[in-house]
């Protein structure tokens, strides 16, 4: 397992070095039957998202992006998520660095800010 490339700053922005991309992200210990339905990246200032391919409902890759790229990553899940604990999307690495937290069982989705440096 590789070392984690992403880091979260105190404002909750996920920062990734451009040279480290692509990276793989996954659901961390999802409840049975819970899977990712859509993963979309909205570059800053654009309303046109890029959809990321999901593997087995459990993981996806953030592709290569140039330095300075920013945007919002949206993840929507399906299945029996009850909201009792946050559902984490993490980088698939040694320390499982957090990328995004879903807490609403009603919404079943969340977004996080990404910044490539």
């Amino acid at each position: 397992m590789a070392a984690c490339k992403s880091a979260v700053d105190p404002n909750g922005i996920v920062r990734i070095p451009s040279a480290s991309l692509p990276i793989t992200c996954k659901l961390q210990a999802p409840p049975n039957g819970v899977s990712m339905e859509t993963v979309e990246f909205f570059p800053s200032g654009s309303s046109k998202p890029t959809s990321y391919a999901i593997t087995n409902g459990q993981s996806f890759s953030i592709p290569a992006m140039p330095q300075g790229a920013k945007g919002d990553l949206y993840v929507r899940i399906g299945g029996p998520y009850d909201g009792a604990n946050p559902l984490w999307v993490v980088e698939d690495c040694d320390g499982q660095s957090p990328i995004l937290a879903i807490t609403s069982s009603a919404a079943k989705y969340a977004s996080t800010q990404l910044e490539v440096f």
Partner: protein, 628 residues
């Protein structure tokens, strides 16, 4: 007219109305759970993400934001939020309902049989607020015309309330001067009618020779007119005590938290909730949100650290309910002041457009419910009781007690589809798509509405609604009536076989609604909805028809002292075929051909043509569903 104020537009309104009013609302749990999630977390990166992803960006977890603004229910502003979403979509729903009602087989075009110029052989249980002028009354010996003003108070007040002219009560007497849903439901079954004669059915010219001694073949005369102007002809009070379509409409349109439609609505809402991320862009234009956002994450993180310090080094184990509750309160207070600020700021208004999809989703879900409620209402027979006070010209006044039953049946062109289940949006049936498109179109119209073009807006929403209502209305209707007419004062004992019971009547009408389809030609589309009806009426004159007053001067050979005359009594069989043009529109043109074996006075067969024009007055309130 839709955009009353910011309160009715903000996203919180939509979310509040359909999440936190749900039975067993999950609002409290989610907000408390969220507070616990932050306090339990020890990883700084995760704490930052929890706060950033779900607190600052509350569109990701809107339930807590709504919960915060729902808990302080004493604030009128907050109360207003609860019904804001309903109010926003109300004009579109009212238009749809009004079109449904105007197409309903239980709605009478014009006046009932008792009116002197009536075009209807059989009474129906209800009718819209309208003004009708009718010509040719078949129950009269000579041609006459009458004007009927009809008022359906429940429909009028429902329109007033739902279009915001007079607010619908959120709570008892809040806001002041509001109309309560209970009053609307109570008034809905009533219909009142007042009829006036607009022309005289009997000889109205009298005169005398100006030069009595002249013997020429051409004579000067002084002509005087008999009765002139409008005279009172009667009034009607009708109460639909079973299966009232109007009452069902008022109930469906005003019920909120206890509505069975909640589940479908919320399902739809959940489907569309993902679209809320577009609001992030809109929120970035909101100055109050941007100011708040700048320090919100940092403030909350510090507050959380403070609570953790108090709880000890192993937060999960030592967190007390009180600490969690206190932290939850901190979050809720922040959200409350944020919303209060947003409500006051103009720059936050653009959030509305971003949430248009959500409004459309709610309207779509409500439309499924409206279709189902309307069809359920139309499946029940409607039974009404009616009292008429009749003051016919040259006849003694009498009262009518009438019972009317109307039953609509036959399969509509389309059956109402079930709302799509979550995740089914990609494979909607054609009918589901139809309703989806309808809701989107209505929302586009409503979202662009302003006070200046509100009447145009209503015309548009109505035009959108009409084809849907046509396709979902049961085309056949059967109406059966029974009537007893009683003289208001006992007839003179010198009249043989006279009694206070004037006559008894029974009648039936079968009608079919022809609605143009998408494939209909231009002329057919122009003609619009047409009702074809055939009716039969039986009247047994238990007492001879009585004639009084000026009409007696038309009879030759009567002594000048005669004040009352009577005709031969008998049984009247009356048949009628009628076309109701403009059904479902603001202006109706009923045309009827009637044949009877006799009239009340004339003992030989007679036939005649009657026609009328009636205008749906509800349209003047700006929310009628009728015109295209």
């Amino acid at each position: 007219m839709v955009i009353h104020n910011l309160q009715s537009l903000i996203p919180g309104a939509v979310i509040a109305a359909f999440f936190c009013l749900m039975p067993n609302s999950q609002c409290q749990n989610e907000c408390s759970q969220f507070a616990k999630d932050i306090l339990k977390e020890t990883n700084p990166a995760k704490i930052s993400l929890l706060i950033s992803n779900n607190y600052v960006n509350f569109t990701n977890n809107p339930v807590c934001f709504i919960d915060a603004n729902q808990t302080n229910k004493e604030q009128p502003q907050v109360k207003a939020l609860q019904s804001a979403a309903e109010q926003a979509i109300a004009p579109a729903r009212t238009s749809l309902w009004n079109v449904f009602e105007s197409l309903s087989g239980s709605q009478q075009q014009g006046s009932s049989l008792s009116s002197s110029g009536s075009t209807n052989a059989v009474s129906k249980p209800s009718g819209p607020s309208s003004l009708a002028e009718e010509f040719g009354g078949f129950n009269e010996t000579s041609g006459t015309s009458s004007m009927t003003l009809q008022w359906a108070p429940g429909t009028t007040f429902t329109d007033l309330a739902l279009t915001g002219l007079v607010p619908l009560c959120l709570e008892k007497n809040i806001p002041k001067g509001c109309i309560s849903p209970g009053l609307l439901k109570g008034l809905s079954p009533f219909t009142f009618k007042v009829t006036g004669n607009t022309s005289n059915g009997s000889q109205s010219l009298t005169g005398k020779a100006a030069a009595p001694v002249s013997t020429g073949t051409t004579q000067p005369v002084t002509v005087s007119k008999g009765l002139s102007g409008v005279s009172f002809a009667g009034l009607t009070v009708e109460y639909s005590f079973f299966g009232s379509k109007d009452k069902a409409a008022a109930k469906e349109l005003t019920d909120k938290s206890d509505s069975s439609s909640q589940t479908a609505t919320v399902k739809q809402y959940l489907d569309e909730l993902a679209s809320a991320h577009f609001t992030v862009d809109e929120l970035s234009k909101c100055d109050v949100y941007n100011n708040w956002k700048a320090g919100a994450a940092d403030d909350l993180r510090k507050q959380a650290e403070e609570v953790r310090k108090q709880a000890g080094s192993t937060p999960e184990g030592y967190l007390t309910d009180e600490q969690v509750s206190h932290f939850q309160q901190t979050i809720e207070n922040e959200y409350r002041s944020l919303l209060t600020g947003m409500l006051k700021s103009r720059s936050c208004q653009s959030s509305l457009l971003a949430f248009r999809k959500l409004f459309a989703a709610i309207l779509e879900a409500k439309t499924y419910d409206d279709f189902n409620a309307q069809q359920n209402a139309s499946k029940k027979p409607e039974v009404a009781l009616e009292y008429d006070l009749n003051t016919p010209q040259n006849k003694p006044s009498y009262s009518s007690a009438k019972a009317t039953l109307n039953y609509s049946f036959g399969n509509p062109k389309k059956q109402v589809p079930e709302p799509p289940k979550k995740g089914d949006t990609a494979s909607l049936t054609r009918q589901q798509n139809d309703i989806h498109d309808y809701a989107s179109k209505q929302i586009d119209v409503l979202a662009s509405a302003t006070k200046a073009n509100s009447s145009l807006t209503i015309q548009e929403t109505t035009a959108n609604a009409k084809p849907k209502a046509e396709a979902n209305t049961a085309p056949w209707s059967l109406t059966v009536t029974g009537t007893a007419d009683i003289y208001n004062s006992a007839p003179a004992s010198s009249i043989p076989s006279s009694s206070q019971l004037r006559d008894i009547q029974a009648g039936a009408e079968i009608a079919y609604l022809f609605a143009p389809s998408d494939k209909s030609g231009t002329i057919r589309q122009l003609i619009g909805d047409v009702t074809a009806a055939a009716a039969y009426s039986y009247q047994d004159q238990t007492s001879p028809a009585i004639l009084t007053g000026a009409a007696l001067s038309d009879f030759t050979g009567l002594p000048s002292s005669t004040t009352t005359a009577y005709a031969q009594r008998g049984v009247i069989h009356l048949g009628q075929v009628r076309l109701g043009l403009g059904k479902g529109g603001n202006t109706n043109f009923p045309i009827a051909f009637t044949y009877s074996n006799r009239t009340e006075l004339v003992v030989h067969p007679t036939w005649g043509l009657q026609f009328g024009i009636s205008y749906n007055l509800t349209s003047l309130l700006g929310s009628s569903g009728a015109s295209k």
